[in-house]
C-alpha cells in the first residue's frame, strides 16, 4: 500500500505504541496535522514548543515509555532545543519530529529554515534528516529503538515538507539492523564476582544510586541488596524514589544540598556501590577530597560515564537491572551458608549522623517556611504523588522534604537545571498518569518561564497542581549572592510579578493564596481535592536558605548546615 510521508509517520507512531503526541503546528508540518485526525493518537496542543518537549519528557519520565513531540521548522524546532538538552542530560527517551523546508530549499536560508540537525547534534543521542521518503519508516523504527535502549536519550527526526507529501510503498521494519550500535546490557560475570566479593568484605559500605536505577526499573533489586546486606542507601537527585524514604536504611540525597548523614556516610565509607549514577560535580564536591578511603564500584550502561570524574576500582558496563539481577544470583545462594555481616558498628554510626544533624527548619511565628509547605504536601499525599519541580530552591526543598516512596515519582531537571521544566513536565506526567495526583513545586521565578501552559492544562482538563513557593526572589541565586557575593542582590529580586491567583483564574484554573502557616494544610488539601488545574501561591519566608549547602569547590563534608 502506498502512503504519503505524513501517513507513514503517523502509522509508524501508532505501531510504536504511541498514544500521545505533544505538539504545535506550523507550515512545515501542516501535512502531518492534516492527517492526524485519521489516526488513534491523542494530540496535546501546547502553547509554546518548549512546553511540548518538556511535556513529552515528563510523560517519558513518568512512564518509562518514549515521549513524542511534534513541531514545525525554524523557530518551532529551535524552541525545543532547551528541552532536548534537558532530556539529553537526564537520559530521557524522547523522539522529536521537526518539520523542515522542502528539500530543494534546504541550505537556501528559506523562510523558517534552520539546520536543526546541526544545532542539536551535541544534545541528542542521534538525529536524522530524512531526504527520501523511502528511508522514513526505517528511520522512525531506529529513532524509537535508539531513544529507548542503552543509555536512553532524545532522538530527533527532521522531516522536509516535500517528503511528507511524497508517496511510497509502506512497510514497517520488524527488526533493527544497526551494525554500529550495540549497547551492553549484561555485565561481565568476572566483574560481578568481584563486586560480590567486595560486598561480602565491606565493613562500611554504601549504595549510591542514580537515575539509571529508575530508568532500568531496578528498584526492587536495589532494595533486596540493601536490605540483605544492611547497606545504607543514598541517591542522586535523579534517583529519588528508587528506594523508599520510609526505610531505615535511607539516608536521603547526597551532594551539594544533600543530607549530613549521606555526605558523612559516603565520605567515610570503605565501599561505594555507584549504580547508574555519574559522579556529577554537584554530588562529589571537591574531587580530590571525595571518598578518599573507599573502594569504588561503578555500574553504568554508558562506558563514557565510568572513570570520567573519579577513579574507579571495579568498573562494570551494564544495565543496572541486569547487573543487580546477576549480583543477586551470585549472592543469594550463599546467604544461607554465610549470612551477611551485621555491620552493626557502621549502621549505628550512620544512624547517629542521621539523628545528629537531620534536615530541619523552624516553623515558628507568622511567616511560612517553604520546607513546611513541602513537608505538608508530603504528609497529605503520603509520598504517593508525582512531584515535578522547577529549578532552584523550590527544587532542592522538594528533593529534601518530600518523602518519595515510589520510583518515577520525582520529575526534575537534574543535569541541565532547566527553569520552566516542571509545569509542562507535570502536564506530560498527568497525561500519562490520569489517576495520580501531579504537583509542580515551583518558585515564583521559574513558573513564569512556561506559565502559558496553564491554557494547555485547562484545555485538556488536566488537574495539575502548581504550588508556588513565592519568596519574591530568584531564590537560589539570591542565596549564593548572600553567602558568597557579599549580599550583592543584583537582578534577583522579582519586584514585579503577576497576581498568580488572578492569573490562574484568567486562564480558567483555580487560584489560592496562603500567607498564614495555620492555613497551609487546609488550603493545600482543598486544592488537591479539586478536579481541575490549580495554582496555590504560598507566600513564604523571603530569605530562607537551602541547607545544608556545600560551597562550590569544597569537600562534601564541609557543609554549611544552617
Amino acid at each position: 500500500m502506498e502512503l504519503t510521508g505524513a501517513q507513514i509517520l503517523l502509522e509508524s507512531l501508532r505501531r510504536e505504541g504511541v498514544e500521545v503526541v505533544f505538539g504545535f503546528p506550523g507550515g512545515a508540518v501542516i501535512d502531518i496535522y492534516d492527517q492526524l485526525p485519521n489516526y488513534p493518537l491523542r494530540h496535546v496542543l501546547v502553547r509554546h514548543e518548549q512546553g511540548a518537549i518538556h511535556a513529552a519528557d515528563g510523560y517519558a519520565r513518568a512512564t518509562g515509555k518514549v515521549g513524542v513531540c511534534l513541531v514545525t521548522s525554524g523557530p518551532g524546532a529551535t524552541n525545543t532545543v532547551t528541552g532536548i538538552a534537558t532530556a539529553y542530560m537526564d537520559s530521557v527517551p524522547v523522539v522529536i519530529i521537526t518539520g523542515q523546508v522542502p528539500t530543494p530549499l534546504i541550505g537556501n536560508d528559506a523562510f523558517q529554515e534552520v539546520d536543526i540537525v546541526g544545532i542539536t547534534r551535541s544534545c541528542t543521542k542521534h538525529n536524522y534528516l530524512v531526504k527520501d521518503v523511502r528511508d522514513l519508516s526505517r528511520v522512525i523504527k531506529e529513532a524509537f529503538y535508539l531513544a529507548s535502549t542503552g543509555r536512553p536519550g532524545p532522538v530527533l527526526i527532521d522531516l522536509p515538507k516535500d517528503v511528507q507529501t511524497q508517496l511510497t510503498e509502506y512497510k514497517y521494519p520488524k527488526t533493527i539492523k544497526m551494525r554500529s550500535y550495540n549497547p551492553t546490557y549484561a555485565p561481565n560475570p568476572k566483574q560481578v564476582a568481584k563486586v560480590a566479593a567486595v560486598v561480602r568484605r565491606a565493613k562500611k559500605p554504601i549504595i549510591y544510586a542514580g537515575g539509571g536505577v529508575i530508568a532500568s526499573e531496578a528498584s526492587a533489586d536495589l532494595a533486596w541488596l540493601a536490605r540483605s546486606f544492611n547497606m545504607p542507601v543514598t541517591a542522586t537527585l535523579m534517583a529519588l524514589g528508587c528506594f523508599p524514604a520510609e526505610d531505615p536504611l535511607w539516608l536521603g540525597m547526597l551532594g551539594m544540598h544533600g543530607t549530613y548523614a549521606a555526605n558523612m556516610a559516603i565520605s567515610n565509607a570503605d565501599l561505594i556501590l555507584a549504580i547508574g549514577s555519574r559522579f556529577d560535580d554537584r554530588v562529589t564536591g571537591k574531587i580530590s577530597e571525595f571518598a578518599k578511603n573507599a573502594k569504588i564500584v561503578h555500574i553504568d550502561i554508558d562506558p563514557t560515564s565510568i572513570q570520567k570524574n573519579v577513579p574507579v576500582d571495579i568498573p562494570v558496563v551494564a544495565d543496572c537491572k541486569s547487573f543487580l539481577t546477576a549480583l543477586r544470583q551470585t549472592l543469594e545462594p550463599t546467604l544461607e551458608a554465610e549470612p551477611a555481616a551485621g555491620l552493626e558498628a557502621w549502621n549505628s554510626k550512620v544512624a547517629a549522623w542521621k539523628v545528629e544533624k537531620p534536615l530541619s527548619y523552624n516553623q515558628e511565628g507568622t511567616v511560612i517556611k517553604p520546607q513546611f509547605v513541602v513537608e505538608t504536601i508530603s504528609r497529605l499525599t503520603k509520598g504517593e504523588a508525582i512531584i515535578t519541580t522547577e529549578v532552584g530552591q523550590n527544587q532542592m526543598w522538594a528533593a529534601q522534604f518530600y518523602a518519595f516512596n515510589r520510583p518515577r515519582s520525582f520529575i526534575s531537571s537534574g543535569g541541565l537545571g532547566t527553569m520552566g521544566f516542571g509545569f509542562p513536565a507535570a502536564i506530560g506526567a498527568q497525561m500519562a498518569c490520569p489517576d495520580r495526583l501531579v504537583i509542580d513545586v515551583a518558585g515564583d521565578g521559574s513558573i513564569q518561564m512556561c506559565i502559558q501552559e496553564l491554557a494547555t492544562a485547562v484545555c485538556y482538563n488536566l488537574p495539575v497542581k502548581i504550588v508556588i513557593l513565592n519568596n519574591g526572589y530568584l531564590g537560589m541565586v539570591r542565596q549564593w549572592q548572600e553567602l558568597f557575593y557579599k549580599k550583592n542582590y543584583c537582578a534577583t529580586c522579582l519586584d514585579v510579578a503577576p497576581d498568580f491567583v488572578k492569573l490562574a483564574e484568567a486562564y480558567g484554573a483555580a487560584g489560592f493564596r496562603v500567607t498564614d502557616p495555620a492555613k497551609v494544610e487546609s488550603v493545600l488539601a482543598e486544592a488537591f481535592a479539586l478536579p481541575r488545574p490549580v495554582i496555590v501561591d504560598v507566600v513564604v519566608d523571603r530569605e530562607e536558605n537551602v541547607a545544608p549547602m556545600v560551597p562550590a569547590g569544597k569537600s562534601i563534608t564541609e557543609m554549611i548546615l544552617v
Binding site: 547534534r121 551535541s122 542521534h126 554500529s180 563514557t304
Partner: protein
C-alpha cells in the same frame, strides 16, 4: 602525548561533523584528520591525530565509540603501527638552486611532479618527522606553498 586514532564509521552525511563536533564541544583539539571510504561499501576510515593525557584520550575514545555511526575506534599509539603522511610542496628552484633542491629530492625519495622554469612541485610521503625535516631543509630555498594530508595509519601485521 600525541595519539593516532583510527576510526571506522558509517559513510553517511553528517558523520564527519559528529566526530569533529565531539572534539570541539569538549575542548579537545584535532591535530590532523584524514577521511576516505574504505574497501567495504558504506564505511569510511578516519585517522585523527590528537594530543592529550591518558584520561583525556580514554574519554575521547569512549565518546567516539558512543556515537551511533561509529563501528570501531583503535588507538594506534598502543599498538605497533605504520604511519604515513603525504605532502605536496611548491619550491623555489630558480637558477643555481635547482641542482641543490633536486639533490634533496633524491635523498628524501621525493618525486618531482611538476616542473616550471623557476619552481618545482614535489610529492613526498613519510612520517610526520620526515616531512618536517624536509620542510626545514627546503625552507632556505623558499617554499611557496605546501599541502599536507595529515597522517593515515594502520596497525602492523603479526601483532603479539
Amino acid at each position: 602525548m600525541r595519539h593516532i586514532l583510527s576510526i571506522l564509521v558509517e559513510n553517511e552525511p553528517g558523520v564527519l561533523a559528529r566526530v569533529a563536533g565531539l572534539f570541539s564541544g569538549r575542548g579537545y583539539n584535532i591535530e590532523t584528520l584524514n577521511v576516505a571510504p574504505t574497501l567495504t561499501e558504506g564505511l569510511s576510515m578516519m585517522t585523527i591525530t590528537t594530543v592529550g593525557d591518558e584520561a583525556i584520550i580514554e574519554q575521547i575514545v569512549k565518546q567516539l565509540r558512543k556515537l551511533v555511526t561509529t563501528l570501531k575506534v583503535v588507538d594506534l599509539t598502543d599498538v605497533k603501527s605504520v604511519e604515513r603522511e603525504m605532502m605536496l610542496l611548491r619550491v623555489d628552484a630558480e637558477g643555481s638552486k635547482r641542482a641543490e633542491v633536486l639533490r634533496i629530492v633524491d635523498i628524501f625519495r621525493c618525486k618531482v611532479v611538476d616542473v616550471s622554469p623557476d619552481e618545482l612541485v614535489l610529492e613526498v610521503t613519510g612520517t610526520q618527522d620526515k616531512l618536517n625535516a624536509l620542510v626545514s631543509l627546503l625552507q632556505r630555498y623558499g617554499i611557496k606553498e605546501a599541502a599536507r594530508t595529515g597522517a593515515v595509519a594502520m596497525r602492523r601485521g603479526m601483532q603479539e
